[in-house]
Every structure is written in structure tokens, then in C-alpha cells.
């Protein structure tokens, strides 16, 4: 029942907030904050039951609630909570509150309706994180979309019409694919068992033949990646993030992007294990491309919100890289990156909004030397720029590094490519600081510094960043059981039990040639053992060098014509 409370509190508070407009100026804001605070408290309460996380076995729900809805089609109101959804719900409620605080002075027209939409969208998001019936999931998926569209179209900046249309079309196209794939899955279930089902557990057990599985996986992948987004489905993002009002930008980047990642982790990867093992190198390639592509374009921006938007694409590349790497380390890094990016980008959008409110421009060419004018705002911007460039000790570093550590064993080449993104992140983050806050002052401007409330909010996010950067265990241990289930079972080729040597063949894979054991290196081991090991290793190396070639070419001819290559790469196939 408590799960339904989580969803219904914001949804029911939404009309209340709309009406609240008439009662007093700030009533809508307080209602929205109140509703989200209750949600946050509820989620924290759930989180504090930490014996759960230790007791629960892998892959079981911590809390579950199921009510029949349309039995004829196998649809039920089925909610389930596990570590992953809990962490994301915490993030949603927290970022939601931040978004409302950030809009406190910016939104002055139709205040009630604005907060009504915010609450509706967030209620939808929480529903997305909890629904484990695919029909219900899709319902919430659509619930969050419309209010988001309205937020951009009504309260956005100059190009809001164009941006909101683009946003709507892209996400709707993705949703359509998702819908088709979901219905197809239900029908396939009917085909196999005689009754249709939209239930997660039922569909997990569905055996798919590889052809259909591949196409359905692709639909699930694209449907979610559009939200994430990664190239080539990202082009709605810069327009939308830049044109949306501050609060909506924070929600879009901090929360909505996470629904895409959540979908990948919850549905795409576990539902289609066979197809994923073939597809993983391509997805990781897309991730690496996203990291670099976003970073290069971020460097070119003069609009501060667009810069943050492109940096967001770059950060989301790490999600894709980590989610498909198939190691627990990378998956844990993915979760960390989700949380860290939500915090850092949310804060950066809040700062960008504050700047725009003061200077009435987002163009960094019009700024400069603001450090002396608005030191609080500037120092906060410095902090979050550093978080965004992945400074160790802050949460983003943990996310990015765990992803990179975890991905290296799967795809060394792509991981190195992704690492170059770290240099580029430094370039665009520092360029942003230089153009905006350092350098000569353009004109003598007198702008008020951050208010105490805004400063305190940002300080709180900063503290969270440091906390998770130096002590990420609370998050990592919460999601550990869930992420463990996503790791594909170990490859059939059992590696020899000798302690450290076998791992060097993954290195040989990087170099593309097998390295055999030398006799000198194996003193005290009988020569037969060496020979046997060498034979084994040669097998591994041959196979894996083939797959490296396939991956490299997959990166090169990325664009959809990769199918023939994929069939040869089954490095992580069970």
C-alpha cells in the first residue's frame, strides 16, 4: 500500500496545487513541496529498514503490491520496489523539491498550473519506477510526458514552441516503439502459454527465438535511449533543455533522463539476455560516441544552458557504457552516475537559471568577471563545474570511474575512447567558468547574489555530492542485490584457477595477439601444466581476438549495418 501512497500523493496533490493558487501567492509552491517532502520522507523511511537489503535475496522485491485490473488481458496493478527503484525515487523526490525551489522567483504566471504539472509529471515518474506490469508501466510512462510538454510549451523561453514540439515528437516516437514491443511480448506470451500477460515476472520467463528477440530488444532499446538520450536520438535534448524553464530543465535532466536508464536496466537488459549479449558492444559503442560527441559540442556552445545540456549527453554516455558492460562494477557505477548526474546537472541548471534571471541572457559572451559581483553564485558554479568534470572526491567521479573500471575488461578500446571524454570535460567546464565568472567584467552590473534559501539548497546538494563522493556505500549497498542479477553468467570457458595469470589474456586481447606463458615465468609448475594452460589460453585468445575485431568494426560502421558482424561476437554469451 505504501507504494501506492508514493505515487498517489503527488498525483492527488496536483489538482490541490492548482486550486491553491487562489488561496495565497505561495500556496501552490508549499503544497508541491509538502507533497514531495512526504514522499521523500516515506522513501527515506523505507531506506532506513536496511535489514531488508541484507536479508533479501537477489532479484526479489522488497515490497510488492498486486491488484487485478483487466484479467482478460493479463493486466494487473502490480507494483514492486527494490534497491534500484528506491534510490531513484529518493532522487526524484529530492530533485523535485530542488526544481520547485529553483522556480520560486522565476515562475510568476499561472503558478498553480505550473506546480500541478510538476506534480503530475513527478507522480508519473515515480509510477514508472514502481510499475512492474508493463501495461501499467507504459501508462505511467505516458502520464509523465504530457505535463512535461506543457511545462515547456507554456513557461519556456523564446523558442519554446519549437522545443516542446520536438521533445514531444521524439519521445512519442520512442514510446510508440515501446508500446508495439510491449504488446508483442504479451501476445508472444499468449502464443506460448495460452493467456496474454503483461507481468514482468511472466515475461522474464518467456523464451524468445533469437530473431524476434533481437527486434523486440531493439525497440525496447530505442524507446528508452531516446529518453536518455544518446546519439543519434539526442537532438531534441539541447533545444528542450535550453528552452525549458529552470524548474523543468532540472526535472528533465535530473529525473526524466533517469527513466530511460531505468528502463534499460529494468527491462531491456533482463528481458532479452540473448540478444543483449550480441548487442552490448554496439550499445557501449553508442555510449562512447555519446561521451565524445556531447563533449565536443559542449565545447562549442555559447549558450550556458545548451552547454550544460550537451555535457549531459556526454555524462549519459557513461550510463550506456556501464549498463551494457556486463560487470557488477560497471553496473554499480551506472547507478552512481545516475544519482551523481541528477545532483550535479540539477544544480548547474539551477545556477544557469539564476544567472539568466539576473542578466536576462544565457549568452556567455555577454558575461564575464562575475566572480566579484556574485561570489556565492560563482563559487557554487565552480563547485558543480568541478563535479561535472569528474573531480575525485565528488559523486560523479565515483560513477564515471566505476563504469570505466568495470567496462575495461569488456571493451578496452571503447573504455580508452571514453576516457578521452575526461579531458574534454575539463575543457568545457573550465571554459564555462572562465567565460562567465572570470576575466574582465563586461559592464558594471549590480546583480543580487544568491538568496539564502537558494544558497542553502545548493550547499545541501554540494554536501550530498561530497558525501557520496567519499562514502558511496549507502547507495552502492542498496543497489548491490539488484545489479548482481544483471551480470550475465560467467562465460562457459572456465578459466584456470591459477591466481593472477589468466587475466593477462584479456590484455592479450587488447593487443590482438595471444601471449603464451613462458617457462621461466612458471617456475615450479610442471611442463605439462604450462602446455595445457597454453593450449587453453590459445583458445581464449583466438576467440576473443575475433570478437575484438568485430567490436572495432562495429564501432567503425556504427549506423545500423552491423548485424552480420554481431553474429560473430559472442564474447559474453552464456
Amino acid at each position: 500500500m505504501v507504494l501506492w501512497f508514493l505515487i498517489l500523493i503527488p498525483l492527488l496533490a496536483a489538482p490541490l496545487a492548482w486550486m491553491g493558487q487562489q488561496w495565497s501567492r505561495h500556496a501552490a509552491r508549499w503544497i508541491a513541496i509538502g507533497a514531495l517532502s512526504i514522499d521523500l520522507l516515506l522513501a527515506l523511511l523505507l531506506w532506513s529498514q536496511d535489514h531488508w537489503f541484507q536479508d533479501s535475496g537477489q532479484g526479489s522485491w522488497l515490497l510488492e503490491s498486486q491488484t487485478s485490473w483487466i484479467p482478460l488481458w493479463g493486466i494487473s496493478l502490480h507494483l514492486g520496489l527494490d534497491g534500484l527503484s528506491l534510490v531513484l525515487i529518493l532522487l526524484t523526490a529530492f530533485i523535485g523539491i530542488i526544481a520547485i525551489i529553483a522556480s520560486w522567483t522565476e515562475i510568476q504566471t499561472r503558478v498553480g498550473f505550473f506546480h500541478c504539472n510538476v506534480l503530475l509529471a513527478l507522480g508519473g515518474v515515480i509510477g514508472v519506477f514502481l510499475a512492474i506490469d508493463l501495461f501499467l508501466f507504459f501508462f505511467f510512462w505516458e502520464v509523465m510526458l504530457v505535463p512535461m510538454y506543457l511545462l515547456i510549451a507554456i513557461w519556456g523561453h523564446e523558442q519554446r514552441r519549437h522545443a516542446s514540439f520536438k521533445f514531444f515528437l521524439f519521445t512519442q516516437a520512442g514510446s510508440l516503439m515501446l508500446l508495439v514491443a510491449i504488446i508483442a511480448l504479451a501476445l508472444l506470451h499468449q502464443h506460448a502459454t495460452g493467456r496474454p500477460s503483461f507481468d514482468y515476472a511472466d515475461l522474464m520467463g518467456l523464451a524468445l527465438n533469437s530473431g524476434i528477440g533481437w527486434w523486440l530488444m531493439l525497440a525496447f532499446f530505442i524507446g528508452f535511449v531516446v529518453k536518455l538520450p544518446a546519439p543519434p536520438f539526442h537532438s531534441w535534448l539541447p533545444d528542450t533543455y535550453a528552452e525549458a524553464p529552470t524548474g523543468a530543465s532540472i526535472i528533465l535532466a535530473g529525473i526524466l533522463a533517469k527513466t530511460g536508464a531505468y528502463g534499460l536496466l529494468r527491462f531491456t537488459i533482463p528481458l532479452f539476455p540473448g540478444a543483449i549479449s550480441e548487442f552490448a558492444p554496439i550499445a557501449m559503442g553508442l555510449g562512447a560516441i555519446g561521451i565524445l560527441y556531447g563533449a565536443v559540442l559542449a565545447c562549442a556552445q555559447t549558450d550556458i544552458k545548451r552547454l550544460v545540456a550537451y555535457s549531459s549527453i556526454s555524462h549519459m554516455g557513461f550510463i550506456l557504457l556501464g549498463a551494457f558492460a556486463g560487470t557488477e562494477l560497471a553496473l554499480q557505477g551506472t547507478v552512481m552516475q545516475l544519482v551523481a548526474h541528477g545532483l550535479s546537472t540539477g544544480a548547474l541548471f539551477m545556477l544557469a537559471g539564476a544567472l539568466q534571471e539576473r542578466l536576462h541572457t544565457r549568452d556567455m559572451r555577454q558575461m564575464g568577471g562575475l566572480w566579484g559581483v556574485i561570489p556565492r553564485l560563482a563559487s557554487m558554479a565552480l563547485f558543480f563545474a568541478l563535479a561535472s568534470l569528474g573531480l575525485p572526491g565528488l559523486a560523479n567521479f565515483i560513477g564515471e570511474f566505476l563504469v570505466l573500471f568495470g567496462s575495461f575488461s569488456a571493451q578496452p578500446f571503447l573504455t580508452i575512447l571514453a576516457s578521452i571524454g575526461m579531458v574534454m570535460a575539463a575543457i568545457y567546464s573550465l571554459a564555462m567558468m572562465q567565460r562567465t565568472f572570470f576575466g574582465r567584467q563586461r559592464e558594471t552590473r549590480i546583480a543580487p547574489d544568491l538568496s539564502n534559501i537558494a544558497f542553502g539548497t545548493l550547499l545541501l546538494i554540494a554536501v550530498l555530492q561530497v558525501w557520496l563522493g567519499l562514502y558511496p556505500r549507502p547507495v552502492l549497498s542498496t543497489t548491490m542485490p539488484v545489479m548482481g542479477t544483471l551480470v550475465p553468467p560467467a562465460p562457459k570457458l572456465t578459466r584456470p584457477p591459477s591466481e593472477f595469470l589468466p587475466s593477462s589474456d584479456s590484455f592479450a586481447r587488447l593487443r590482438g595477439k595471444p601471449r603464451l606463458l613462458s617457462r621461466e615465468g612458471m617456475q615450479g609448475v610442471s611442463s605439462e601444466a604450462v602446455a595445457k594452460e597454453n593450449r587453453l589460453r590459445r583458445g581464449v585468445a583466438e576467440e576473443s581476438s575475433g570478437s575484438t575485431a568485430a567490436c572495432l568494426s562495429a564501432v567503425v560502421c556504427y549506423g545500423g549495418w552491423i548485424k552480420p558482424w554481431i553474429s560473430t561476437s559472442h564474447v559474453s554469451a552464456p
Binding site: 537532438s235 572570470f438 552502492l476
Partner: protein, 661 residues
């Protein structure tokens, strides 16, 4: 495992002081937090007290911890302190934990000790409107006390990060410190943020070092994938077991670590950021860009020496890069006009010596030169700061001169520094450390004769550029009137450092001169002693020493001949077309900046500016196409009945025709 045992042993023996180890980095960090959050509300005095006091307290605790550590030293060679588990997943466990051994204790002592002196110096150097006006060009006169607090906050953060770097027990924590010092370097180079060039210098420093850092990070990924550990001690033991000498893995990891070290330590080819970094306030240059941060690369290689021993080819590269850097930088130092840029190039050159020593396997010699260099180079920078301070922010040595009598204290301390850097025999520390390096370059089986000759040429150049600087600034005619000697807070560090610049050399007396190898004996528990090729006895060593002494004295003598009397010959030499070209070429750092500008920066800018959003254009053109299609279609909606009738008829005919076929 070992470390846990060690710490338990510790509890038994009851060494209380060692347990305070965590306070050493924590105190400057607390100072930073205090200044960052409440700096604006504190008075100048309070800011100075917090900023200086936190580092001073850290130095004090270092002394206590060090004494405690040395009491049981050879029996307990290391001490491990775990604070908390940082990352804890089933595949990776990394703690925030400290590791103290002879090497890290040495580094900690230098960082806190010299750090404290420089903080003390900054209290006066950075304070007051006059000083702010003097120590930076126009624009920061409005720099009020928030700037003062900001300065000390960044400096404290730097000390904390540097201590994390040297005390880290695992490579991930080391990386945290590594990036942290880079950040502080960035913040302090760009301290006077209103100057766009300073900002550019700061960005350049950060980005160039980050290229190195990224290589370092990739090295970490490989290391972890291979060995499933990041603990510095464990990794090296495992690597030595698993990888044969010269194996590909070892070589690649060593190369990647080396690139990281090259970036931080401003060695070829990543050296370009250091001269520009002189934009920062002078105490920053002394602390970060001379004594501590730029030697982090040396520390890294020494720390990971077992790894580098597995890759002899990389070690050879280390030596060659060191040699090349030391010669190139020495030539550039010869022709600079800016007093701080001379010192910047000299720093590069001296770190080149350290790399050379590391490359030939003389680990302790490299660390010894690090120690002496930290003393004399910090001294030189602080003395230079005193000159700059008294001349109203004049940094051009061609507008200085004759300051010997006006600033006697500054002159004598500068003289001691320059003498130590050039290696004036017997009485300066630089002589002992450089002599050790050259002897190693001669006697090590990893070295070559030409490396030794190159290094010998380097000593000549060092003498030449050090004393050129001295003569230009302190001799000749007075060109700019100084306002006088600095106050106590600046004098004390100068005197202490001058004392150290002379005396630390006596910690290691070579076989030929007293034979008192305290320093190498102390480090022998961490770093292996250098091997020597057979037949290297005392007499050979004495001959090498004579050669080094002679070469250094020749350099100084040459400087005296060329620059002491009016320097007309040099001016004429520089006036020839070849001379002029050479001066420009060397002053610009051998054209590296221009090369990178053409090869990397411009193409990069082109890429970002011109690329635009190709993918987005594709989608947008879809929208445009749909729109024009709809415009075209809506044209058929004319409202004329005749037109509609005609189209119906034509359509019917076409359909009929199709069916008929």
C-alpha cells in the same frame, strides 16, 4: 593483510603519536573548510591565523609522528591507518587509508615544513592593499579581504591534497590527491581572475596535466583489470609475480604512469604549461610549481619503482626524457627576461635531473635532489618574490640591477639559493645531490656515457643561467628603485630556507667526502640501492666529482665574465641574426607552444566551431520536408468545383487504367 598486522603490532608497542597520522591531511582540510565557508566574515588576522596555523599544526604533528615512527624505524618499516572503506563492491575494495613509510614521511615533512614557511611568507606578501597592488598587475586593487581568505583557502586545500597524494595507501586515493593538487594549481594560477591571460594560463595548466592524468587513469584501469587490486604495495608484489620483466603489460602500464608523471612534473612533451603557470602569485609558484606539486611525478615513479623495474625499456625512456628536458629547459632559462620564468625553466631543468636519476635506477638520489631542490628553489622563488615585492611588481630582469646594496638580505639569500642550484662545491646542498646523480649516471649499468655527458653539460648551463640571473638582478647599475627589505614574516622563511639550502646536503656525504650515507640508509627500506658496474671505486668517483665541480664552476665563471661587466659581448652576440633567432626560439620554449597550437588547439577549435549539429540538421530537414509537402498538398485545396471535378475524373481514369492492366 600486512598492514593490519602492522597496525596491531603498533597497538601493542603503544605508539600513540602515530595514530595522529590522519590529522596531518585533515588539519589543512579543516582550515580550507573554515576559510571557504566563513572566510568572508573573518578579519585578516584571523584568516592568516587559520591559514598558517592549520599548516603549522600539521607540520608539528608531522614532527611528532615522524619522531615516533623513527624510534622503531628499521624494525617497523611502515605504518598503515585505515579510516573508512571508500568503495566497497564485490569486485573492488578501496579504503581511505594512509600508508607511512620512509618515503612518504620524507614527502610529508617537505610538504608541511616548507609549506608552513611559504604560508608564513604569504601572510605578509599577500596582505594589505599595498602588497596586493604590488604583487599583481592592475585590476586587483579592488581585491579585498575576500581575496585574502580565498588565497589561504586554496593554499590549505592544496596542502591537504598534496598530503593525500603522498600518504595514500592505494592508487585511487593517490589519484584523488593527484587531481586535487591539479585543481588547486588551476585555482591559484588563475587567482587574479580578472586578467584573461591568467585565466588562460590556468586552464592550460589544468588541461595539459589532465591529458597526463587521463593516461594515468587508463593505466589504473589496466592494472586493476589485470591484478584486481589497487593497493600500491599489493599491486607491485602481484605485478612482480605475474609479469615477467619486459612483458607487454608491464611496459604499457609503466608508459601510462609515466605520461601521468610527465604531465604533473612538466617534462617533455607535456612541459608547456609550467612557464605560463608563473601567472600565479609568487608564493604559489614557490610551493606548488617548485617545491611540491611538480615533483609529484618523481614521487609517483619512485613509489611505483617495482613496476618500472619490470619495464627496463621504459626506465631508459625516463632517463632520456629527463636529460632532454634538463638541457632544453636550461637553454630556455638562459634567455628569459621574466625573473619568474627563468626560475620556472630552471625548475623544469632540475626535475629533469630527478627523472634522469630515476631512469638510471638511482631512486634515492632522485629523492635527495627533490629534497635539496625543494629547499633551494623555494628559497629562490621567495627571494624573487621579495625583489618583485620591493620593485612594485616588476618582473623584467632587464629593468632590475644593482639591488645588492639596497636589499642585502634578499641578495644573500638569493645568492645562497643560486649557489645551491648551480652546485657550488662542498658548502651547498645542490652540490651533494647533483654530484650523486652524476655519479649514478656514470656508474649505473642502466646508464650510458652520453647521458652522463649531457648531464655534465647541464651543470655548466645551470651555473650559467643561475648566475646570469643573479648578476642581472643584483649587480650593475640600479634601474628601478626598490622600496626596501620586507618585514619579519617574509624574512624568517628566507633565512630558514637559506639555512636549509646549505645544510640538508650534509645528510648524504659521498664515499670520497666523509662517507656518511644517512639519507640513502634511511630510504633503503623503501627504495633499493643503486647497482654499480664493476670497477667503480673511490678514485673514479673522485674524478667524476672533479669533472662536475669544474663544469659547474666553469658555468658560473662564464656568467661572471659575460654578465658582470656591462654584458656588451652578450648583447652583441644576441644582436646577430642567428643570435636573435636563437633567443626567440629558446625564449618561446623551443616552439612547443606553436607546434601544439597548430597541431592540436586550432584543429580542435575548428572541430568544435564548425561541426555544429549534423544529426540535428537531419531531423530538422525532416520537419522542413513535411512542412513543404503539406504546403504543396494544401495548394490543391482551391475551392473551385471545376478543379475538384477534374481531379476526380483524372483520378478515376488512372485507377481504371491500373485495374485494366
Amino acid at each position: 593483510m600486512n598492514s593490519q598486522v602492522a597496525s596491531q603490532v603498533n597497538l601493542v608497542t603503544g605508539s600513540q603519536m602515530l595514530r595522529l597520522l590522519w590529522l596531518i591531511p585533515a588539519l589543512p582540510l579543516a582550515g580550507f573548510l573554515l576559510l571557504a565557508l566563513f572566510g568572508g566574515r573573518l578579519s585578516r588576522r584571523q584568516v592568516a591565523r587559520v591559514g598558517c596555523g592549520s599548516v603549522g599544526a600539521a607540520a608539528l604533528i608531522t614532527a611528532l609522528v615522524g619522531a615516533d615512527f623513527l624510534r622503531a624505524f628499521p624494525d617497523r618499516p611502515s605504518y598503515h591507518q585505515m579510516l573508512w572503506k571508500w568503495i566497497d563492491t564485490s569486485e573492488m575494495t578501496v579504503g581511505v587509508s594512509w600508508y607511512l613509510d620512509a618515503l612518504s614521511l620524507l614527502m610529508v615533512a617537505v610538504v608541511t615544513g616548507i609549506g608552513f614557511l611559504i604560508h608564513l611568507y604569504s601572510v605578509e606578501y599577500m596582505s594589505g592593499t599595498g602588497e596586493a597592488g604590488v604583487s599583481a598587475p592592475a585590476g586587483r586593487a579592488g581585491e579585498d579581504h575576500q581575496g585574502y581568505a580565498r588565497f589561504f583557502a586554496y593554499m590549505n586545500l592544496f596542502v591537504a591534497a598534496m598530503l593525500t597524494l603522498v600518504l595514500a595507501d592505494n592508487l585511487l586515493l593517490l589519484y584523488l590527491g593527484w587531481e586535487g593538487v591539479g585543481l588547486c594549481s588551476y585555482l591559484l594560477i588563475g587567482f587574479w581572475y580578472r586578467e584573461p591571460e591568467y585565466g588562460a594560463a590556468a586552464q592550460k595548466a589544468f588541461i595539459v596535466t589532465r591529458i597526463g592524468d587521463t593516461a594515468f587513469a587508463v593505466g589504473l584501469f589496466i592494472l586493476f583489470t589485470q591484478l584486481k587490486s589497487l593497493s600500491i604495495q599489493q599491486v607491485q608484489t602481484l605485478a612482480a609475480e605475474a609479469w615477467p620483466i619486459g612483458s607487454n603489460v608491464a611496459v604499457i602500464v609503466a608508459v601510462l604512469f609515466l605520461v601521468g608523471a610527465l604531465g604533473k612534473s612538466a617534462q617533455l612533451p607535456l612541459q608547456v604549461w609550467l612557464p605560463d603557470a608563473m601567472a600565479g602569485p609568487t608564493p604559489v609558484s614557490a610551493l606548488i610549481h617548485a617545491a611540491t606539486m611538480v615533483t609529484a611525478g618523481v614521487y609517483l615513479i619512485a613509489r611505483m619503482h617495482q613496476l618500472f623495474e619490470l619495464a627496463p625499456s621504459v626506465q631508459e625512456v625516463v632517463a632520456m626524457i629527463g636529460l632532454l628536458t634538463l638541457l632544453l629547459a636550461a637553454c630556455s632559462a638562459l634567455v628569459q627576461r621574466d625573473i619568474k620564468r627563468v626560475l620556472a625553466y630552471s625548475t623544469m631543468s632540475q626535475i629533469g635531473y630527478m627523472f634522469l636519476a630515476l631512469g638510471v635506477g638511482a631512486w634515492s638520489a632522485a629523492l635527495f635532489h627533490f629534497l635539496t631542490h625543494a629547499c633551494f628553489k623555494a628559497l629562490l622563488f621567495l627571494a624573487a618574490g621579495s625583489v618583485i615585492h620591493s620593485l612594485g611588481h616588476e618582473q623584467d630582469i632587464f629593468r632590475m640591477g644593482g639591488l645588492r646594496r639596497r636589499l642585502p638580505l634578499t641578495f644573500w639569500t638569493f645568492l645562497i639559493g643560486a649557489a645551491a642550484m648551480s652546485g657550488v662545491p662542498f658548502i651547498t646542498s645542490g652540490f651533494y645531490s647533483k654530484d650523486w646523480i652524476l655519479w649514478s649516471a656514470w656508474s649505473s649499468p642502466l646508464s650510458h656515457r652520453w647521458i652522463w655527458f649531457g648531464a655534465l653539460l647541464g651543470t655548466l648551463l645551470t651555473g650559467l643561467y643561475s648566475f646570469r640571473l643573479l648578476f642581472r638582478v643584483f649587480f650593475g647599475e640600479v634601474r628601478t628603485q626598490p622600496i626596501g627589505e620586507p618585514g619579519v614574516a617574509m624574512r624568517v622563511p628566507l633565512l630558514v630556507l637559506a639555512f636549509l639550502a646549505v645544510t640538508v646536503g650534509f645528510l648524504e656525504l659521498p664515499r670520497t667526502l666523509g662517507d656518511l650515507p644517512l639519507f640513502s640508509r634511511y630510504l633503503s627500506h623503501v627504495l633499493p640501492a643503486i647497482e654499480t658496474i664493476p670497477g667503480m671505486d673511490k678514485s673514479v668517483e673522485a674524478l667524476v666529482q672533479i669533472a662536475v665541480t669544474f663544469s659547474a664552476l666553469l658555468g658560473m665563471g662564464l656568467a661572471a665574465v659575460l654578465f658582470l661587466p656591462r654584458a656588451t659581448f652578450v648583447d652583441r652576440l644576441a644582436g646577430t641574426s642567428l643570435g636573435r633567432a636563437l633567443v626567440i626560439f629558446w625564449r618561446g620554449g623551443w616552439g612547443f607552444d606553436r607546434m601544439y597550437d597548430g597541431l592540436i588547439v586550432r584543429p580542435w577549435l575548428h572541430l568544435t566551431r564548425e561541426s555544429g549539429e549534423l544529426i540535428d540538421r537531419g531531423y530538422e530537414s525532416l520537419a522542413v520536408a513535411a512542412e513543404s509537402f503539406h504546403v504543396w498538398l494544401s495548394r490543391t485545396q482551391t475551392g473551385h468545383v471545376r478543379w475538384y471535378a477534374a481531379t476526380v475524373a483524372v483520378g478515376a481514369l488512372v485507377l481504371l487504367g491500373l485495374f485494366a492492366m
